[in-house]
Amino acid sequence: MHIPDGYLSASTCAVLYGAAVPFWYVAFARVKRLLNTRLVPLLAVVSAFCFVIMMFNVPLPGGTTGHAVGVGAATVVLGPWASMLSVSIALLIQAVFFGDGGITTLGANCFNMAIVGSLVAHLVYRAVAGRTAITSSRRVWAAASAGYAAINVAALFTACELGIQPVFFKDASGAPLYAPYALHIAIPAMMLGHLSFAGLAELFVSGGVVAYLQRTNPALLGQNASAGTDDAARPPAATTGWRITRPLWSRLALLMLLTPLGILAAGRAWGEWGAKDFSDPKVRQQITAASGNIAPPSQEPQGLARLSSLWSAPFPQYAPRFVRRPAFGYVMSAVFGSGLILGFFLVIAWIAGTRGAEASKTST
């Protein structure tokens, strides 16, 4: 899963460094706020742990062995943000000093394993564990499935990054300049190994660590990144509820207000043409100019015409029919779309909360 140097183009590496930076920034700010002066020793020592855990050989069914990344265990014990930073630091040391993973591809490796891995592990663990007691056996399954899901989603991201290389980067003769396999080969090749073996190593380590800590030191499982600080004494709602998401609400509102910026872009996005565009001379000119002077077919493709009539959106072109000003339509669409997503997650959270409360009632 550690992508070496030379497998990804410089632009892909730059994009993935760019994608990782905001996560590192937010993670650093959040962990620093929680841990204050404890940040340096805790992250340094836990990063060292993540490095060492990657060297453990885990026996797998069938007589083979595998290595775990440790992202599942780190997320369960430290929380997603501290895990993100610790695994990233461990990957940096691995790449620079032990040649495991490249330097140019470090951003990609951190994005896949540390960032995506920690977030997926956190979501799966929370979804499966619910509000069960710390010593509940469901938490062992939750940690195991969190580790398994995290490593497999990270592998999928890796496969996609490798798989897009031959599509975009070829030399004059048509030979791929970087990883040579397209998505239809890269994804199955990567996922077969991870779904069957590498994922199991992570599953055993994550589940095993939680099972061991439940027996010996269950307090560690209830503290997350605030282990040992005064924040540990706070109820979870105080650290994970509305207070933490408050800055995100203001950013979401700002993004909604900025949505009309899309109107500034002239013409249609490449490939997002409608059936009628093929008979509009102006749009045909735009398509030809944007497609390397290759003219589109003179008539709309039959499949496009047939399928485009199947569903007509309530807000076509991000503007309900009764709205005259496109900018207002954009903002309305943003509010409506975000509201739908938030509503969906509130319903999910309400169902999960009701089930969790029932489970805790029966356990007591």
Binding site: D5, G6, P41, S47, G63, G99, A175, L220
Partner: protein
């Protein structure tokens, strides 16, 4: 069954071998860093600023001969820095060639293009584009790995970590990297001790399930020790007056030789970028 048992019995030994190999690698690097060579003489900050662009250019280049020239230069620098080429071949080139070679082998047949050879008996067709794709991948991986290893083998690691400040990393991150590096060895020793004591108590053969339990329990012990250790380190830092601010002693000095080498590497990187477009 016996095969599975044999394999699972080797898990403790394999983990021990991983720990020992990491420690050996470190000691070897520390030894090489003390030698008298071109890279060893350079300020670690200059080393990073000079070598990182060459690694990036090796990833950017779209012509094979440019990557080949960069590789040849990396070999030359290794020789001038007294890094034994046999060791480089064994530790770096062979490993990268085997790994990347295996990965790129199917590309010879799967990449569409002009047929240049047909495998006898199997009838699989090697294409010119497939061969170029495999060569690109192997050459890039070898060149980048050689430069990275040179950077690491020719500097004391603690100095190299401090020199990361040249990349404008926050000082607190540089300090964390230094501490992480230090505690890796402590935890490696802890893990090594745990596995050695386990091995010394084992008189029979454990089945795969028991071995798995042992491995995950060791991971659990290690994470408990890690969090305990972080508390101890924090208390030790507080007792010495740590209040959250971090400082790094800046003992590096840059001389004329550093500037000459930096200029040479930047010129080389620019030329490689220009010709490799």
């Amino acid at each position: 069954m016996t095969r599975a048992r044999k394999n699972s019995q080797g898990v403790v030994e394999r983990s021990l071998a991983s720990f020992v190999s990491a420690l050996e690698h470190t000691f070897y690097a520390e030894e090489l860093a003390k030698k008298n060579g071109v890279l060893q003489k350079l300020d670690p900050r200059v080393k990073i600023a000079a070598i990182l662009p060459l690694i990036v250019i090796a990833a950017l280049a779209r012509r094979l001969w440019v990557i080949a020239v960069l590789f040849a230069i990396a070999v030359g620098v290794a020789m001038l820095s007294n890094v034994p080429l046999g060791t480089m071949a064994k530790r770096v080139w062979l490993g990268v060639f085997t790994f990347t070679g295996l990965i790129s082998l199917p590309a010879l047949f799967l990449t569409p293009g002009q047929a240049i050879y047909t495998l006898p008996l199997l009838g699989w067709i090697v294409t010119a584009q497939g061969l170029r794709a495999a060569t690109y991948l192997i050459m890039r991986a070898e060149t980048a790995a050689t430069f990275s290893v040179l950077l690491v083998l020719c500097s004391p690691w603690s100095n190299l970590l401090k020199a990361f400040r040249v990349l404008r990393l926050p000082i607190v991150l540089v300090v964390m990297l230094g501490m992480t590096y230090r505690y890796i060895f402590l935890l490696l020793r802890n893990a090594h001790d745990m596995f050695t004591s386990r091995k010394s108590r084992m008189v029979g053969r454990l089945d795969g399930r028991e071995q798995r339990r042992a491995a995950t329990a060791s991971a659990g012990v290690l994470i408990s020790k890690t969090l305990q250790l972080s508390g101890d380190v924090y208390s030790a830092m507080r007792s010495r007056g740590f209040q959250g601010e971090v400082y790094v002693l800046d003992e590096f000095r840059t001389g004329w030789f550093d500037w000459v080498m930096l200029a040479a590497c930047v010129t080389l990187a620019t030329l490689a970028f220009w010709f490799g477009r």
